[in-house]
């Protein structure tokens, strides 16, 4: 596992992507250490007395050349709202890179599925898989088309598909109703991140087709480094910390 760091990043950009989603581009003051796809950061929300703990957020993308990383964040509560108010040149303190990472394949056909803010870690994953020669297919799900952000960026690393509940983009319905799920056996691996019920549905279909499936969980956390044991998920070998034993789990190990 990589050494963990604590660092004040400089905000380069805070881009509003839709009503409640924004992208933070953060510059490391020195050389950005290596980060794997699926890892996260514990972000300190300053001057926010009602949000006491750090916020665990997926690392959305990494740029070693410019020593930057980005976070794709949905405004869900007081902490993320405060983060949405950050301005260029503000500092943001991160503990990173935390947790394990997705298992990458070489030269295989793979499916990435995401919904809600669960699409955040899939960008860096798709880039890494692309670099490994994989044939990357990305299925993103939302209530409506405007919920889906950063399309052009995802498009750089794989073939994109969509489901929307109101039929405004892609196929109508929930993620597992997409036609890709009718012929899952063409994929060597499925990766998923999003609302728990969505991930469970994807995992069930993957299991039915005997395809390995990795999920990224987002349990509520305090420390992020395996000290407090607050963020556990039930696995077949007992309670495991999502922060250090995860956030990525093979679904066959979970008690779903």
């Amino acid at each position: 596992m990589h050494k963990k760091h604590i660092e004040d990043f400089i905000v380069l950009l805070n881009e509003k992507l839709n009503e409640d989603t924004f992208l933070l581009l953060l510059k490391h003051p020195h050389k950005l250490p290596e980060i794997n796809a699926g890892q996260f950061a514990e972000v300190l929300v300053e001057d926010s007395p009602l949000t006491f703990l750090r916020r665990p957020l997926s690392i959305h993308d990494v740029d070693y050349k410019n020593n930057t990383l980005s976070l794709l964040i949905k405004k869900l509560g007081k902490g993320t709202k405060k983060l949405s108010e950050l301005k260029p040149d503000n500092f943001l303190n991160l503990i990173f890179p935390l947790g394990n990472s997705f298992t990458l394949l070489n030269n295989e056909k793979v499916l990435l599925t995401g919904g809600g803010c669960g699409i955040a870690p899939l960008l860096y994953l798709s880039r890494k898989l692309n670099e490994k020669g994989c044939d990357v297919h990305i299925l993103l799900a939302a209530k409506t088309a405007s919920d889906i952000v950063r399309l052009k960026t995802y498009e750089n690393y794989g073939k994109l598909y969509f489901t929307t509940e109101d039929n405004s983009l892609g196929e109508k319905g929930l993620i597992i109703q997409h036609s890709l799920f009718k012929n899952l056996s063409v994929f060597k691996k499925i990766y998923t991140c999003g609302p728990e019920r969505m991930m469970q549905a994807v995992a069930r279909l993957a299991a039915n087709n005997e395809i390995p499936c990795e999920v990224s969980l987002e349990n509520t956390m305090a420390c992020g480094i395996g000290a407090c044991l607050c963020c556990v998920t039930e696995t077949k070998t007992g309670n495991k910390c999502v922060c250090v034993d995860g956030p990525v789990f093979n679904t066959k190990d979970l008690k779903w």
Partner: protein, 304 residues
């Protein structure tokens, strides 16, 4: 050069700053961030006789200026500690103290006897105040008779430094402190978490699987400080103060109110380097106020 050394029973600490049980793992989790050996000591995670899975998720809820937890003493048991953890933490030169918990006196005694054999563990912290387990735990620490019974039993077998961690969920904490002092405790640490609760009016459900949990963080500090002051005026044994310490200023307040040493708990989650910053801050305060030693400052609260 200021003197930060303090004594807790036979235990000598190079400075009064320790890390609280359950907030610092086994120290190893913090190696990337700090030199753990600079600490006065570390109190490792609550250890029980048998492995425990702890309570179901969700076990944590953020609250204004604090958090509730209901971890429920998840740990792999004393034998796992001895075979797997103890060899790894022997690299530390700082003092290693094990927090001991159990659901009955026999369990406590078995764990304590095993810890008595470990050369690098010079002290235990007897947890009679965990609010998150069904049997034992806090039940031992909320009545004088049961606190006396367990302290007496452990004292008769454990020869090294015995610290008893007290619960704030009592009518009068000084009575419990006096009781464990009379039964031979070398020191008391206080406070453990306060029993609390959080609910959602959206889902109409509690935020913790156990409904209630233990409150910690800066929101509990005034209560912890009051209890340390009360106990300081009631017993002669050293007091280890904890509860919402976020910085050196907070730590100094506890020492001013009579604590010989302090523990940093929840603050470790916000800044994994905070315990070391607190040591530095204490040193700077003493230097700039021309106080030669931390013991000179201890309990020096001016009342009028």
């Amino acid at each position: 050069m200021v003197d930060l050394n303090v004594n807790i029973g036979h235990l000598k600490l190079q400075n009064p700053v320790m890390t609280a049980s359950g907030t610092f793992g086994y120290g190893l989790e913090f190696d990337d961030f700090i030199d753990v050996n600079l600490l006065g000591g570390i109190i490792v995670k609550g250890t029980t006789l048998e492995p425990r899975e702890g309570n179901a998720y969700p076990r944590m809820a953020e609250t204004p200026m604090g958090m509730l937890n209901a971890v429920g003493l998840q740990n792999k048991g004393i034998d796992h500690f001895i075979t797997d953890i103890y060899p790894k933490i022997q690299k530390y030169t700082t003092q290693l103290i094990v927090n001991v918990s159990g659901s009955n006196i026999e369990d406590y005694l078995t764990v304590v006897e095993k810890l008595n054999e470990l050369d690098r563990i010079p002290a235990i912290e007897l947890n009679i105040s965990c609010p998150n387990v069904k049997s034992g735990g806090m039940a031992f620490g909320t009545s004088c008779s049961s606190a006396a019974e367990i302290t007496k039993a452990v004292r008769s077998t454990y020869k090294k430094t015995l610290i008893v961690k007290l619960s704030p969920n009592v009518t009068n904490i000084t009575e419990i402190a006096k009781t464990v002092e009379a039964e031979g405790a070398d020191a008391v640490s206080l406070i453990n978490t306060l029993l609390g609760m959080a609910v959602s009016i959206k889902t109409r459900k509690p935020l913790l699987s156990t409904v209630t949990g233990g409150l910690s963080g800066p929101c509990v500090k005034p209560i912890a400080l009051r209890m340390v002051w009360q106990v300081f005026n009631a017993v002669k044994i050293p007091i280890i103060g904890l509860g919402g310490i976020m910085n050196a200023n907070d730590a100094l307040e506890f020492i001013l109110c009579g604590a010989t040493a302090i523990q940093v708990g929840t603050a470790n989650f916000i800044d994994p380097r905070i315990s070391i910053k607190i040591i530095e801050g204490i040193k700077e305060y003493l230097q700039s106020n021309k106080i030669n030693s931390i013991s000179e400052f201890r309990g020096s609260l001016i009342l009028k």
